[in-house]
Symmetry: C2
Subunit: 329 residues, 2 copies
């Protein structure tokens, strides 16, 4: 399941590189979904790309999909622009800028809708892997963790090598102040004030899928979801794991394990040890320099595909070959 | 492909019986989609039903789906409530009451979006069947035909045995007056003023699917779509047919062939000769008394399934058995 959402937080200058420009930012989630589903983008006719351009981690997800037999489900938790991909719709538009302190006042409705979708999909599945695509999602992750009183500054990750931690913290603090939150706040209120629609949808999907194994595919954002969930449901009743990429685990500017530990969430973490060090394309080599790291369920889908018996080099080679074609090399 | 939409025209008292009550009217399209896709409704937890209740024609579509190997695609052209079924989204909410004369000012955008979806689906299909679910759709059909200057009063069908033609005509006339239309109007303007989002989406889907055989599954509403399309595209370049039920063709209060002839549209019409005369359930027997007649692509899906070699009695028996279970008999 790929959960798509948008938050106006993404328009704060310097907060994310997920999106080529402010105008194109809201296209990131639908284009990711189209790339994973169809192998090409549909909503925009063409995006000029050079081999220097750093591709979306959705390329890894797409490679994993083509090398395995996963069925795909797409969930619009709060897109600004719908994707040209069949999808469930559990939300009602983008989340607001977290500085307003009113990021997703309709979070409860999203959770309830997503629960039905999770139940429906789980009823026909052996296990599920849940990924996300939302620009600025690490900022909202920081938001909910701080709202719940966790001391995790410098723990959340970023799509940039120079993690703009102080900007993210000040943005979140502004939202917390507006919302009148200055201590421990319950998880739903945290999402409503400084979270994003993706979190609400993912929580609902997991609750609905209870009974089968569930892999949260993502880094510090999915860790935040796991912590939120642990305060809303009894985690011991879920067969839950988190799976991400090597780039997240090796990121010195954040700490996935620190977040999980701080949140008292003890779940298995599966790491896909992907590497693009062998790549001939600067855009993929950038992953080895700390760009992007994770997203669109890349780590989790890669792990699940490797567990199905596909060698990791085959995923890497497929990404190399797909991206070569895209940039015309 | 099932095209879903809603128009506030449906709230005009006496205009339609598609929907148990005004509050539930907007649920008709999503519940139809859920019934066809999952065999049960999901958005509402339960609707109490007696065997006197007249079921949606979506039951016929569901029976056809379970007896054949069609893949299903759902398209939200303008729902008020999204279905718990994966779907494409080509619109942006319901159409307005046609009496405003501004029913779907964003129709052009719907057509353009739907074109992409039609192309995408056609690229992986041998042929396509396109059905619709929209309450009050025969009124908007009358609307666009009158807007284009056709003399077709008393030609469009209804879900009721006593077709409220004069009410429908007066409603449409009010809209035409507001829009300043009093002669021949181009098809896009007709939809924008007194049409509905379903028409726009279906036109776009057909245009996008050009190149493979296309069956419009419906009665007088789909005839109106064919006429609109004929004025926007060269019909001779399409491999297009219309397919509907016996109940539409035998309806003495309307004339499918009269509409097609009046619109100079000469396409094959395939009729599914379904009958519920053998039914033990009053709700299904009502179809033989002129209730419902068509919708949710019932006639077209039944025809296509019969063409695949499934006997028509098998479709009727499957509907009988499914509906028996639903009403607990």
């Amino acid at each position: 399941m790929l959960v798509m959402a948008y938050t106006e937080t993404a328009l704060i200058p310097g907060i994310t590189v997920a999106g080529a420009s402010p105008e194109l930012m809201a296209y990131t989630p639908p284009l990711d979904a189209e790339l994973v589903h169809a192998g090409r983008i549909i909503t925009l006719d063409n995006i000029a790309m050079t081999s220097e351009a750093i591709p979306t981690p959705g390329l890894i997800t797409r490679a994993a999909i083509t090398l395995s037999d996963f069925r795909e489900f797409y969930v619009d938790a709060g897109n600004k622009i719908p994707p040209f991909v069949p999808h469930y719709r559990v939300g009602n538009g983008p989340g607001a800028d977290v500085r307003t302190g009113k990021a997703v006042p309709w979070a409860k409705q999203i959770i309830e809708n997503a629960r039905k979708v999770g139940k429906e999909i789980a009823s026909q599945s052996e296990y599920v892997v849940i990924g996300e695509t939302i620009p600025a999602g690490t900022t909202t992750a920081l938001g909910v963790l701080l709202a719940m009183g966790m001391d995790i500054n410098n723990y959340t990750s970023s799509s940039m090598p120079d993690n703009p931690q102080s900007l993210k913290t000040s943005v979140v603090q502004e939202g917390l102040k507006k919302a009148g939150i200055n201590g421990q706040c319950d998880p739903l209120k945290a999402i409503e004030a400084v979270g994003d629609p993706m979190m609400a949808a993912t929580i609902g999907l997991v609750q609905g899928a209870q009974g089968i194994p569930i892999i949260l595919a993502g880094g510090t954002q999915m860790a935040a979801v796991a912590i939120l969930l642990s305060k809303m449901s009894d985690l011991s009743k879920f067969d839950l794991a988190l799976s991400t990429t090597r780039w997240i685990v090796e990121d010195s500017t954040s700490s996935l394990f620190g977040i999980l530990k701080g949140g008292n969430v003890n779940i298995p973490v599966i790491v896909a040890n992907l590497s693009f060090a062998r790549s001939k394309l600067p855009g993929l080599l950038a992953y080895e320099k700390g760009y992007v790291k994770e997203g669109v369920g890349a780590g989790g889908l890669a792990s699940a595909t490797i567990l199905k018996g596909v060698p990791k080099v085959k995923i890497e080679d497929t990404v190399e070959s797909m991206y070569s074609k895209m940039v015309g090399q």
